[in-house]
Symmetry: C2
């Protein structure tokens, strides 16, 4: 087994106190002593036992993410990318990441367990629903948490979200300016805040321009290719088909593209497409045919920042911005054009 503190201090002829303090950067220990301790520690490959430290300090040095085993269909590739972001900062600060598997029904209980057992110091809540009971619960518990998405109004839970509403406002505004009127929205599941916000942004643009949105062209569901395909088929087959599609993700856009192609229509000649791009490396908007116009925001960077915000709370640091909202860029590529004249 690895060396423990007792042995190390014995080797050094110092007390455990001094060694521990030297290693943890307490000011009470002399610089010369500290150096000597540090050197010996790395020479012997000493690593304090996390369990012991945890027990003694009550801090876990870990971030918790509850992993919804069944619901993940919605998020699959996005989740990994987000996780990668969280990982990056967590790793840099020597924090572990604990994934707690759970089913929807027991999800709240799982959070409670995580919180109370002291296995983690802070919790990250991703893709919150509207009035998400998880957030309400965590808020009530007063436990360090960061929501990736929009947290309810009154709750003082730290959150980071991208400006979904602004993004879809911009995107829709752009389509309207190009002359599109019949615009289809293939949204994510509207129980989630991000989807609600996107819908709102889309409507904002119509209101701003004084145009009537065609609500029959709005749909919501899991952000998969399959659903994009299905929604687009349905929209294109209806009377008064759309001339443009707004898609919740690149995956959805892929499905839409396919449906459009099958209908013998062309992008962007007949149909314009704008998708929201979370920057999944496996699905790059600029590599699609045609390269997609997108509203872009790195979900990975968001993950990294969310982790930072969580760590800040753990260390008692005060965030000057408890609710960050990141702006989203509209990147115009080749999937948008004025609607066909007829």
């Amino acid at each position: 087994m690895a060396m423990n503190l007792k042995e190390l201090s014995a080797h050094l002829g110092l007390s455990q106190t001094t060694v521990s303090r030297a290693l943890n950067g307490y000011p009470e220990v002399g610089e010369a002593t500290r150096l000597r301790v540090m050197e010996a520690a790395s020479r012997f490959g000493y690593r304090p036992s996390p369990a012991a430290r945890r027990l003694a300090t009550g801090t876990a040095h870990a971030l918790g993410i509850v992993f919804p085993v069944e619901r993940n269909v919605l998020l699959d590739p996005l989740f990994v990318e987000f996780l990668a972001g969280v990982s990056e900062t967590a790793g840099r600060n020597n924090f572990d990441i604990l994934i707690s598997p759970t089913t929807s029904e027991t999800e709240i209980a799982t959070y409670g367990r995580l919180v109370r057992s002291g296995t983690v110091d802070a919790v990250i809540i991703s893709s919150p629903a509207v009035d998400d009971p998880r957030i309400v619960r965590i808020g009530a518990l007063g436990f360090p948490a960061v929501v990736h998405g929009r947290a309810g109004e009154g709750l003082d839970v730290v959150s980071l979200d991208i400006d979904n509403r602004g993004a879809f406002l911009q995107a829709t505004r752009f389509l309207l300016q190009l002359g599109h009127r019949r615009i289809a929205l293939v949204n994510g599941d509207e129980r989630f805040t991000f989807a609600v916000d996107r819908r709102a942004g889309t409507l904002d643009a119509f209101a701003e321009a004084g145009n009537q949105p065609s609500l029959d062209l709005f749909s919501a569901g899991p952000m998969t290719m399959e659903n994009g395909y299905r929604a687009a088929r349905a929209a294109l087959a209806g009377e008064g088909p759309p001339t443009a599609f707004l898609c919740g993700s690149i995956l959805v856009a892929l499905g839409v593209l396919k449906a459009v192609a099958e209908s013998g229509l062309e992008v962007p000649g007949d149909i314009s497409i704008i998708a929201h791009d979370d920057e999944m490396p496996a699905f790059r908007a600029d590599q699609m045919m045609p390269p997609l116009t997108t509203t872009r925001s790195s979900i990975r960077a968001a993950g990294a920042r969310v982790a930072e915000m969580a760590l800040a709370q753990v260390t008692g640091e005060v965030l000057d911005q408890p609710h960050e909202v990141w702006p989203v860029e509209l990147i115009v590529r080749a999937s948008t054009a004025p609607p066909p004249v007829r």
Copy 2:
């Protein structure tokens, strides 16, 4: 804070020993006492502190997965699905899952840290490379580990793999029987064992039939749509284009489908496609157009079994099968047909 053992036993008028034993199912405690203890524990919502238990027993009650922050491009959606499987069994046994973020260079060190610090009781190694140093290392350490994929010969590390070689043997055999001769393989990165095995299986089928494979049609790379598309474009543009494609994943097949469509060819009339299907719920082979012929194996089920194997090692259970290899089914759907006559 939650109640601790001391308080609970005080309430019950029993010693900590007895309460602890009652809760952990030791035989020394009377049935009546046990019931009384259990009842009180759940009534007070008592949960033993993981940290304390960890320290006392030296067992972490957690499984470790090292999460390669950069390499994940290859695996994105697959990884989540696998993780979901691991989660299921881990959760059922009250094991936590620790994700340790790492970059390729420090990956081995990360494993070492995980192993030595006692943060986890077992480690899961996914998508091993040929002669993967991680496995060699873990094998040398004698630490409980399960490899998802093929573990090197001599190393006695428990592993679970699907029969990649057999799968591609079957698939290729099927294509050969249909009359295809120029068969393209769009493989995963051939540093990984699964990809090597698939290539081998493909060659096996050619050898078995006494045919020459067209190695110029074989390619390898990340299993993304993009790469599938690129590989297929290249293959179709060359002289002596293929009449069939073998794809490493559904994603790859999607890219191939697109390239085929762009070349004005039809599936399966002009081109047959078989893909390996890991059963990602977001990309269902039977929902594609046309529904894809696949070699199918649930990566999620594999994750669940891998976790079981890891737990077994932790509890000292002996696995009668330290190297499981799961058979893979060939599911014939609508993307395969005899090659066009000309």
